[in-house]
């Protein structure tokens, strides 16, 4: 476990020092929301579905950026080889990188939610609090998937463009569930009324965290 905390603390320290990726994530999610407000002219109408949709679009794009940065720290000076050579096993490395991506995404999500409430004339009330577990489940699933895929796209030509093309279709089920659950929560429905959606999100998370943990060693090594 010491390996996990070492890598995570190192990533957080690097992030706090440069701070560029969290700011970039926040800026990106804000921009996506602004674009959607103008595109859907949602300023006037109090539409919950539009707000939930916009929130998740912002999350997916911010998450993509966050995941791409997950292995960026290791690209300088071949640091990834330092990790592969060390007794740290790839699964723990994956877990640490996933945790880091999750933290970045959480920050972006909080920012996006606040902006969503402002941009879409909603209230800071209980419904927003109910969003938290849904967004958490979404963030876990997306980070698990994107961290695994960014280890692949990070090392192929034109990979950065490939990450969304690979990640979004696979993420679709969690996206549908997330948007539907968020819309219901914003419309005041209690959490247990949408357990079907939540079950799908939990299944997605469990599946892709384990798949990522097991498959990471195959994509990160040079071999």
């Amino acid at each position: 476990m010491s390996g996990f905390s070492a890598v995570l603390r190192k990533d957080l320290r690097l992030e706090l020092r440069s701070g560029e990726s969290t700011l970039a994530l926040l800026a990106l999610s804000m921009l996506v929301l602004v674009v959607l407000v103008f595109a859907l002219d949602a300023g006037r109408v109090r539409s919950v579905d539009v707000a939930a949709g916009a929130l998740w679009v912002a999350m997916v794009f911010a998450g993509m950026l966050g995941a791409n940065r997950a292995l960026l720290a290791e690209r300088d000076n071949g640091a990834i080889r330092g990790l592969l050579l060390s007794p740290l096993d790839p699964g723990t490395l994956y877990a640490a990188k996933l945790a880091a991506a999750l933290i970045f995404m959480a920050v972006a999500e909080v920012g996006a939610v606040i902006l969503m409430v402002l941009f879409f004339n909603l209230e800071f009330d209980a419904s927003i609090a109910r969003l938290a577990p849904i967004l958490a489940l979404g963030a876990i699933g997306f980070s698990a998937l994107a961290t695994l895929l960014s280890a692949i796209t990070g090392r192929t030509r034109g990979g950065d463009m490939l990450l969304p093309i690979l990640a979004v279709p696979i993420f679709v089920p969690a996206l549908i569930a997330g948007v539907k659950a968020s819309a219901a929560a914003l419309a005041g429905a209690p959490l247990d009324s949408m357990d079907a959606w939540l079950k799908i999100m939990v299944a997605f998370d469990v599946l892709f965290v384990t798949a990522g943990y097991l498959l990471f060693e195959h994509v990160v090594g040079e071999g």
Partner: protein, 248 residues
């Protein structure tokens, strides 16, 4: 051993080719002449007899991509990577055709080229996943790890299929049905329809197996030629050593 492996394979491949030809002719005859058109939808419903086999073949191919991926990661033999790549490519051809045929059939019956019907949506998401797989294959073809990357993507995509089906069905039932989605497929009244469907299924399965083998053996050849090129490189390096040691 390699020689007859190749001879045996091309015998199988040609055998598949001829069976495909025969079965396909029978299938076409049955669809256009033997089977009674479905009462309500008229002859447009006949597209169904190719639509369902295309779907079955596409799903089967993507299953093979995942299985081949697992074997490649486990055994590391290039054979599995070639199989996975060939299955993904052929699977994509049939998956694309299935969507196209589906939407051509939807136009006369449901009045629109595309509806977010649960089956069509699921297939479309699957189609997007494997577009990603093939784009990765194309852009990473020179990196040595492309086989491992392909295997992982193949496995991850296959793992996602059940969740896609579940979420789309849930989403689809809640989504207000734009049109009456009477899918012609279930409840075939006339036994002749069932036999026609079975023949079409057989014809397409053999057709797919033939195409898969065609492409698979081509990729096998490409891989073996790669190995040969490496051996030649070694031989020429050894030859140049001899020149260095005692110039001829």
């Amino acid at each position: 051993m390699r020689a007859n492996f190749f001879k045996m394979n091309s015998a199988i491949r040609n055998g598949l080719g001829y069976t495909t030809l025969a079965l396909m002719i029978v299938a076409l005859f049955m669809v256009f002449d033997y089977v009674p058109p479905e009462a309500e939808q008229g002859i447009a419903q006949l597209i169904f007899y190719f639509h369902v086999p295309l779907a079955w073949v596409a799903f089967a191919s993507f299953g093979i991509v995942a299985i081949a991926g697992i074997f490649y990661l486990w055994l590391g033999d290039q054979l599995w990577d070639d199989l996975g790549y060939a299955a993904a490519e052929t699977g994509m051809v049939f998956c694309t055709l299935m969507i196209v045929a589906g939407s051509i059939w939807a136009k006369p019956i449901w009045g629109t080229w595309w509806t977010w019907d649960s089956r069509l949506t699921t297939t479309f998401i699957l189609w997007l996943m494997y577009v990603g797989y093939l784009m990765l294959r194309a852009s990473a073809d020179d990196t040595p790890q492309v086989a491992r990357f392909g295997a992982v993507i193949g496995i991850v995509a296959a793992l996602d299929v059940p969740i896609v089906i579940a979420s789309v069905r849930l989403w689809r039932t809640i989504h207000p049905a734009v049109l009456v989605t009477k899918q012609g497929g279930h409840g075939l009244e006339d036994p002749r329809m069932v036999t026609t469907l079975l023949v079409c299924l057989a014809a397409f399965t053999v057709f797919w197996a033939w195409l898969l083998m065609l492409r698979f053996m081509q990729l096998r050849t490409r891989s073996r030629m790669g190995e040969l090129a490496v051996r030649i490189a070694f031989a020429s390096a050894a030859a140049s050593d001899k020149q260095v040691m005692e110039p001829g």
